[in-house]
């Protein structure tokens, strides 16, 4: 920063913008990389749906499967909403 810069309209510091943008995208992409080992999730969801359908009539969007990181361990969360009975099975 020079003496004269104080009197000029402050120019946008593009290096700072670059750093902030990179920090966001890199963190996001690293997060995705971490979950790459769970790429079986869509298939698991499909098969579970078929099993549940043997007993209950449910739509595709009534089953939700998710993995959450909690410290050193991961939680596999399965949510099936049963519309007729309005009951919720949670595991």
């Amino acid at each position: 920063m020079s003496f004269f810069d104080y009197f000029l309209a402050t120019r946008k510091n593009t290096a700072t913008v670059a750093k902030e943008r990179l920090q966001i995208i890199v963190a996001h992409e690293r997060g995705q990389r971490g979950t790459a080992k769970f790429d079986y999730l869509p298939l698991l969801q499909q098969e579970l749906l078929e099993v549940v359908r043997k007993y209950v009539a449910i739509q595709d969007d009534q089953i939700k499967i998710n993995i959450e990181k909690d410290g050193s361990y991961e939680v596999l969360e399965l949510n099936i909403a049963l519309s007729e009975t309005d009951k919720k099975i949670q595991k």
Binding site: F4, R11, A18
Partner: protein, 268 residues
């Protein structure tokens, strides 16, 4: 046992081949028997940067296929003792490199050399994976520019998941960050990310910074590794990098620009 070092980046045009040539030359100047392998099959260029393009008879793929042996393919540098080049093939067959073939050649080179430098092609395809697969250490070449930094981060991810050491649960590849085409003046003006910024994003120890310098193009024009231009800033910077790699302490001379009283006053 020899050390296998991959020079990689993800993005093209950031200075992998320049760095491979300069780094290998620097190690050989320090008395280590060093070989540098061009993994860019189909787009061979290390030979040109090192000034031995007219001496290529047999190449890396010939050796893998048993069409020639290592002694026939290795080119001895005429300027520096103990420096050898294994040129890439110009074949367009992208499956010319096999993991078994590459392993066999690297194992043989490890018996004969102190350092095996692998000059990776750009991208994250098979050639780049082959270049890094058997590495013990990696020099990640990055420009202080958004696309280069992002691609380097991807390469760092691949280094820790797709390589021999990663697959076999061995000690991870030791990574080093090398920032090239660095313009300290532009960093001061807030136009370019600083070495500290890039290092913070990638979280890899900084091996050094190579300043943007006309001497790099002049060296490649002439087919001389820039390390041999000891009067140039880039040549000096590579010598520092080699010294640091060998465990010596060297101040980071090229991260901050020298600014005179007047330039501080006028902000130029």
């Amino acid at each position: 046992m020899a050390n296998v070092i991959v020079v990689t980046s993800g993005k093209g045009g950031v200075g992998k081949t320049t760095t491979s040539a300069a780094f290998a030359t620097g190690l050989a100047l320090r008395g280590f028997k060093t070989v540098v392998i061009d993994f860019d099959v189909g787009l061979r260029n290390l030979d040109l940067v090192m000034g031995c393009e007219r001496r290529v008879v047999y190449d890396f793929v010939n050796v893998i296929n048993g069409e020639g042996n290592l002694n026939q393919a290795l080119i001895r540098d005429k300027r520096v003792d103990d420096l050898f080049i294994l040129p890439a093939s110009q074949t367009r067959d992208k499956d010319a490199l096999t993991l078994e073939g590459v392993e066999r050649v690297i194992q043989e080179l490890k018996q004969r050399f102190d350092f095996v430098i692998c000059d990776s092609p750009a991208g994250i395809e098979q050639g780049a994976i082959m270049a890094m697969y058997f590495a013990d250490e990696a020099v990640v070449v990055t420009n202080p520019e958004v696309s280069s930094v992002r691609d380097s981060d991807r390469i760092i991810g691949i280094l820790s998941s797709k390589t021999y050491r990663a697959v076999h649960n061995l000690e991870p590849i030791k990574e080093h960050l090398l920032i090239t085409r660095y313009a300290a003046k532009r960093v001061n003006q807030g136009e370019m990310m600083s070495a500290e910024d890039v290092q913070e994003i990638l979280a890899v120890p900084l091996l050094g910074v190579i300043p943007e310098s006309p001497s790099v193009l002049q060296a490649s024009n002439a087919g001389i590794p820039v390390t041999l231009d000891t009067h140039s800033d880039a040549g000096q910077a590579y010598l520092d990098v080699v010294a640091r790699f060998l465990g010596e302490e060297r101040p980071q001379r090229f991260i901050h620009s020298k600014r005179s009283f007047f330039s501080r006053l006028f902000g130029t």
